[in-house]
């Protein structure tokens, strides 16, 4: 792959992802906002591909664009009146305050982090490397991984138990 193509792809994807993220916030129609979120997720997946992280890209599509957005859509579906959902509420000012605080924190973090730039993007497929990192016998993360799965399972069973009618 040539450098020029990657650069062009990066800029297109970067502008799309930032633009769609802004659209999520600004668009009044809540359903369209969700669709822009999907677009945002997808362009982030594209960014992963330009970094040769294809496993991560596929997972990004599968989980974020595929599953999380479906969850959002379900929530919209259950919303009583979506047409008026874009109107401002009494929570507007507190929300603005919290968002501002978060933004300042993030900005602070970004400026204070020592970013390690890599000269050359890895060309090898990253799937095996990720598997090595996760499941390696000595320095892997098998235990946290399993704990996370158990946690999810418990949450799922709990949810089922909560909504079960009888």
């Amino acid at each position: 792959m040539s450098g020029a193509g990657i650069v062009i792809a990066f800029w297109v994807l970067a502008i799309t992802s930032v633009g769609s993220a802004l659209a999520v916030v600004w668009v009044r129609d809540i359903f369209r906002a969700a669709l822009f979120l999907v677009l945002c997720f997808a362009s982030v997946a594209g960014l992963y591909i330009t970094l040769n992280a294809d496993f991560l890209a596929a997972v990004q599509i599968l989980i974020y664009a595929g599953a999380i957005s479906i969850l959002l859509i379900f929530a919209i579906m259950l919303t009583r009146d979506t047409r008026s959902a874009g109107r401002s509420t009494y929570l507007r000012n507190p929300a603005f305050l919290i968002a501002l605080l978060l933004f300042i924190t993030l900005l602070f973090a970004v400026l204070n982090t020592d970013w390690q730039a890599v000269a050359q993007v890895g060309t090898e497929p990253s799937t095996t490397a990720i598997a090595q990192l996760l499941f390696d016998k000595t320095k892997g993360f098998v235990l946290p991984f399993e704990i996370a799965s158990v946690l999810l399972l418990v949450a799922m069973i709990g949810a089922i138990a909560l909504v079960k009618e009888d």
Partner: protein, 367 residues
Amino acid sequence: MSFKTEPLVVNFGPQHPSTHGVFRMIVSLDGEVITDVEPVMGYLHRGVEKLAEERTYLQNIPFTDRLDYLASMSNNLAYVLAVEKLANIPVSPRAQYLRVIMAELQRIASHAMAVGSFLNDAGAFFTPLMYMFREREKVLDLFEMTCGQRLTYNYMRVGGLSHDIPPEFLPALGKFLDDMPGFIDEYEQLLSENEILLARTKGVGILPPQLAINASVSGPILRGSGVKWDLRKADPYCVYDRFDFDIPVGKAGDSYDRFWVRLQEMRQSVRIIQQAVAQLPQGEVRSQVPATLRPQAGEAYAHIEAPKGELGFYLVSDGSVAPYRFKIRSPSFINLTPLREMMVGYKVADAVIILGSLDIVLGEVDR
């Protein structure tokens, strides 16, 4: 834990693939569960009862063709029976037997359509419907041979039939009767043990016998609920008392039972026709009736077991050439009475199955 959800009101029809014509159900849904149903009909109302008051008794026969257009012979029969009762007109034995043969062939054709479109409603992609069309086609060929028509026959006359059957009719009928039981066996094998069909229809749209009787439903729906009531046995008309046949009844009163009863009735119809052909006498098929019939003032109610249920004609005469009152007791219309009770609590997808199992024809519902 319960959620407060917004009910969704959906209009099924008047233009919808599964309402079998222009019928409308206003269905309130909670998610996919039906909470209320209101049938709306009349989109095909042509005012037949009013029109018939302006025409002679003979001229009214074609109107009856257009009520339940899938069972015109039965409609003809019920109407001419009512006129004969009103004016005391005798009918020759041969005509009686031919009437029975035609009515039973009509029942096979109508039930074939009912079963086929019921399965179509269940979601089978037209295949059962096409198979059933194949069988109905044979009956229609027989009718075409008899009276030249394939849908609106206008074959029965007051005092008999419009004309005798052609000579090639009986051999063709014999072949049909030989083949038909095998086909019914095949359909029974293909359909009544299909796992998906069972899952979709068993326990769906249960109509308890008490409610069925109270709501005046008739025909396969009443028998599907386990009530052994068939006018061919209970109040024999024509020569039905001379034939040996069974009345199939359902057990649970669900959609499957109604479907099953129809399949079995096709079998019984074949039996009746076989006996009728064997006993068929020679002779005239039409007695002398004046073209402008003037029955004496009075009233008469004649009913038959049409494919869809009790089809009755209530005629009031004032001594003129036209009926003073021409009332049709249409089974499809009255069978819709317990629609709400049958549907509430089931899923949207069940609604079309239940409606399909009722087998309504809108020409008859709206008249």
